[in-house]
Symmetry: C2
Subunit: 451 residues, 2 copies
């Protein structure tokens, strides 16, 4: 039996990020200004992002060097291990070889700090002393808190109030790394005060929290805003995941036939898959499966259309798969996948058939999560378990056909703060959501007016 | 800069556990039967432990081979990384080199599964189908649940009721791995029913939970009992930690001058330190610092005397440092260190001056924990932070003297389920406990009658 974990030396860490933009199989439609509808220029983004990140956002360079100070912080946990899931394979009785790239070993427990660290660094380089962001359940907020702490930057997080009140652990994690965390809507911004005036007990939403964070950042000279997914600079910072994977597969003389991962905004899946997408575009035969919840079926039932990134229509318009910026998904436990859109690069690759999208019900996803925990030991996040479900389904197909396929799972994070969801599954109280077509139509019908 | 993490190949994992008994600098006093006061024989333990573990408990072989099936499970996360704490060193401005051996990467998040896996294996080999144990806050219970799940054994955990009710996360972790978890005192045992008859609202205690677990195991033909610390077979299973460390230090051409870790029952500290204790007994100069809370100062203020392992006087008598089996420590957050005794081997080494004991206040411990989290990123368990505190203190001494010492921390587990304690520290609500001498005297005065 070969090794169950493939460790890479720090000397073999990728020295540059991979930017997929120049390699895309069709031209990317430009982001448009939310007010004018005209293609966006760097100056439009300057009030909220540092120039280096704006340059990366629009770059057509295939490789962008990773600065030494970013490498120094990534080395606190990177390179992450690539595991061979022997115990899961044996349990399934499959001839398939299953691997998972374990991003849960980072201090915040997910892939998110791969970009948070880079963003904090570039902000510091341009003299920014405060970074403002929003967070839902807290994965992104805790990652940015960790990163800002490493670069001596103040981090302020607007956290959706319902999560702030009911899920205190990630908030406490942010505090431990020195961040300020405010329940949103708050009385600190015009956007927040307007909502509170209408509804003092508002539970908040990601859309409101984005509005508050952007408002604070845009009005302050010393502060910038930071986003944890969707944009190209975020996606490319995540490619260290897939680049490490490729070297690790080389070490054991293997290569994936199938890649499975989950898509919320798309940064995790971009990270693990884009370096392999490059190979596929050059002719290699790889099946690339982007999973999402049936409760938020952006790629499988949404439209490929220009839309806003937020409810309040403050962000640029992006050409992407979307359920409409007013869509409110049912309360599934994979909070990180409850987003109405998907990154433009991911959307383009799905529309071109380079990636295939697959929607999954949450009970089937948690069944896979428990199977994984009872074989491989490690407890996946609900988001992560979507990719595991797809991988198990593909491995079971191999059991039927006898094919010895190599399957890679993007293991994006651990579920240590999601045990209440596991409890609901194990006690039989979990429900699935199947959206009626009218709900999709209602959410997307306004899109015709966008652009 | 050298690598920040030293990864060992699975091929270089230790193939045998190190048993310190034959190398101890003075003879170990034998365990005594709780009823007769006579030295214990294997038959006395047979009702509650499998014979292979009883043999290890009394073995004088210095090396005991690790079975292949145990290795197969350990490989789900072992070998664990040895980190060089560059960021912490830089923050402290110390010339010392600080390393930490990271046991938090295991599925339950601590060193505990190193022995849980071995114990589950030997039980299965002897036909045991159920293992019964107790747990306080849940570290040990979750580790044994994980291990039993790997070997198809039913795991039943009696969890102190106050923790069962107020700290649900580790209980949910046990359920996810398929274990049954009962609040103790329960109505499932004579011991539990007797307590409930007197006090239906009893919050429970580790002593009561041990009584219930031992009672169930002793009365059933298909079940055995399992203990997560104190006993020799537990300590030796943990030596994979220190044995891996030695190979990792060899890889970078370094060797510790100082080893810091925490002692509850002692298994974690035995694991990281015993392979180095062997070198020290052969003449190598190493300072070995065993830390404990001032609120439960077993080694610094207890007596070195025979005592029971549990409140109910069911266990064998062990010669050890003890605060008396009736001692109830104040409610510090490092629940795993709230034990009245310390393993006989650790106690003997402290009494012989091979190890030094050091008591620490919890506010100073949490200050160290937060410093660690804000530099190295990873969030230590409160227990683990005791060793970090001692290491930081030693590193600051090096800053004064200019000595370039090499310091090793036994990083026993993560603090993902301890964020409420961090919150209490950060908001200034944490208190320290200094026990008056009368409290120690009152707890230990009964020991004269023991034996």
């Amino acid at each position: 039996m070969d090794e169950a974990k493939i460790f890479l030396s720090e000397r073999d860490m990728p020295q540059a990020w991979y930017n997929i933009n120049p390699d895309l199989p069709a031209p990317l439609q430009p982001p448009l200004h939310p007010g004018t509808g005209q293609p966006l220029g760097p100056d439009d983004l300057a009030p909220i992002f540092p120039m280096a990140l704006i340059a990366q956002e629009m770059s057509m360079d295939p490789w962008i060097d990773i600065p030494d100070d970013v490498m120094r912080v990534l080395r606190l946990w990177r390179p992450s291990p690539l595991h061979r899931a022997y115990a899961l394979e044996e349990h399934l009785g499959t001839p398939a070889r299953i691997y998972y790239k374990n991003e849960s070993v980072s201090p915040p427990g997910s892939h998110k700090p791969n970009t948070a660290v880079a963003q904090a660094y570039y902000n510091r380089e341009e003299g920014v002393t405060r970074i403002i962001t929003e967070t839902g359940a807290g994965q992104w907020g805790s990652a940015l808190s960790f990163a800002c702490c490493q670069f001596g930057i103040i981090c302020e997080v607007y956290m959706v109030r319902i999560s702030y009140d009911t899920k205190p652990y990630r908030r406490l994690l942010m505090n431990t790394w020195g961040a300020q965390c405010y329940p949103s809507p708050s009385d600190r911004t015009n956007s927040g005060r307007a909502i509170l005036a209408e509804d003092p007990d508002s539970p908040g939403s990601l859309g409101i929290a984005i509005s508050e964070a952007v408002e604070v950042a845009a009005q302050a000279d010393d502060a910038k805003y930071s986003l944890g997914s969707v944009l190209n600079h975020v996606l490319l910072h995540q490619t260290v995941v897939g680049l490490e994977c490729k070297k690790q597969f080389e070490m054991v003389g293997d290569y994936p036939d199938i890649i499975c991962g989950n898509v919320g905004g798309g940064s995790n899946f971009a990270g693990v898959s884009f370096p392999f997408v490059k190979d596929k575009l050059e002719g290699r035969d790889i099946q690339i499966i982007a999973t999402e919840p049936t409760a938020c079926p952006t790629m499988t039932r949404g439209l490929y259309h220009y839309d806003f990134g937020d409810t309040a229509q403050l962000t640029p318009l992006l050409k992407m798969f979307t359920l409409g910026h007013t869509f409110i998904p049912p309360p599934i436990h994979a909070g990180g996948l409850r987003y109405h859109g998907a990154a433009p690069q991911i959307s383009l690759l799905v529309s071109q058939g380079v990636m295939e999208a697959r929607a999954l019900h949450q009970k089937a996803v948690f069944e896979a999560a428990v199977t994984f925990a009872r074989t491989e030991g490690h407890l996946p996040a609900p988001e992560t378990a979507h990719g595991i479900r797809a991988a198990i389904d593909e491995a079971l197909k191999c059991k039927e056909t006898g094919e010895e396929k190599c399957i890679l799972i993007g293991y994006s994070g651990h579920g240590h703060f999601d045990l209440a969801a596991y409890d609901q599954y194990l006690t039989g109280d979990m429900v699935d959501y199947e959206l009626p077509q009218e709900a999709i139509d209602a959410a997307t019908e306004g899109l015709a007016e966008v652009e």
